[in-house]
Subunit: 137 residues, 2 copies
Amino acid sequence: MSEDLMSIREMSRSFGVTPRALRFYRSSDLLSPLRRGQSRLYSKSDRARLKLILRGKRFGFSLEQIREILELYNPAEKNLSQTEAALTTARERLADMKQQYLELGFAITDLEEQIEEGEAALLKLRALAEAAPSEEK
Amino acid sequence: MSEDLMSIREMSRSFGVTPRALRFYRSSDLLSPLRRGQSRLYSKSDRARLKLILRGKRFGFSLEQIREILELYNPAEKNLSQTEAALTTARERLADMKQQYLELGFAITDLEEQIEEGEAALLKLRALAEAAPSEEK
DNA sequence: CGTTACGTTTACGTTTACGTTCGCGTAAAG
DNA sequence: CTTTACGCGAACGTAAACGTAAACGTAACG
């Protein structure tokens, strides 16, 4: 029951990040695993946060931006103005993400078309190579 | 007709990037504006490329990855194996982007929910502040 | 013709996000 | 009890993506 705790190695392997990265996130207050003796132990909530961190990174957000969003996720112990500020930045990020979502859709279509063009060009190149084999080692 | 050419200032302003960035992209072979006299002039194709560059950046791709994709966009002067390589990396990027698209959709939903929770928490905090006004400067 | 404005290249500085030792503590294995 | 393995934090190193500053060309303005 208390054994949903993972060592740094286990975290590292199951998320595909280095131990160094995990320590870095802790020192940046992005993660706060328990300290048992000399070691750190990562709970379910730490895993949820890490998931968000890695997701944010994939979308091109800086760790700083990600940290601001994460502050929204523990509304305890926070006062009013801090919560307000977190909400404001979260709304901005949300707007960014929606914009990105749209653009990403277009970019995917674009790239698909471009790949098709590239494939067509490739066929022509191969045809030419067949017709006039200039250099064969 | 040849006046779809822009100076570095115009580019800078219309895309919201610094001249320094444009020069950096040129020195990285991401852009290749004409050299007229001492200056550089950016064509329509340069603008298209820059658009792709900035878009790629927003999705968290490195300039190096972006450069590989861009190579797909001028299938001229390229040989067979180069085009094949470009296609391969482009397909990989496309897969990444589709994955990102899905994740981004989930992330947006998540964040929306989280914002609603935050708003609820805010209302409670305000209610408490009304009931027991402890500190008012 | 001097100055102001904009452009160039070159070189070095800076920030972000870790990688790479390092010296140390601890814990298990032999 | 030593060796081996893992973990920690501190310090320094590094690659990417520019920013900043220096030294210079040129064009136009008054």
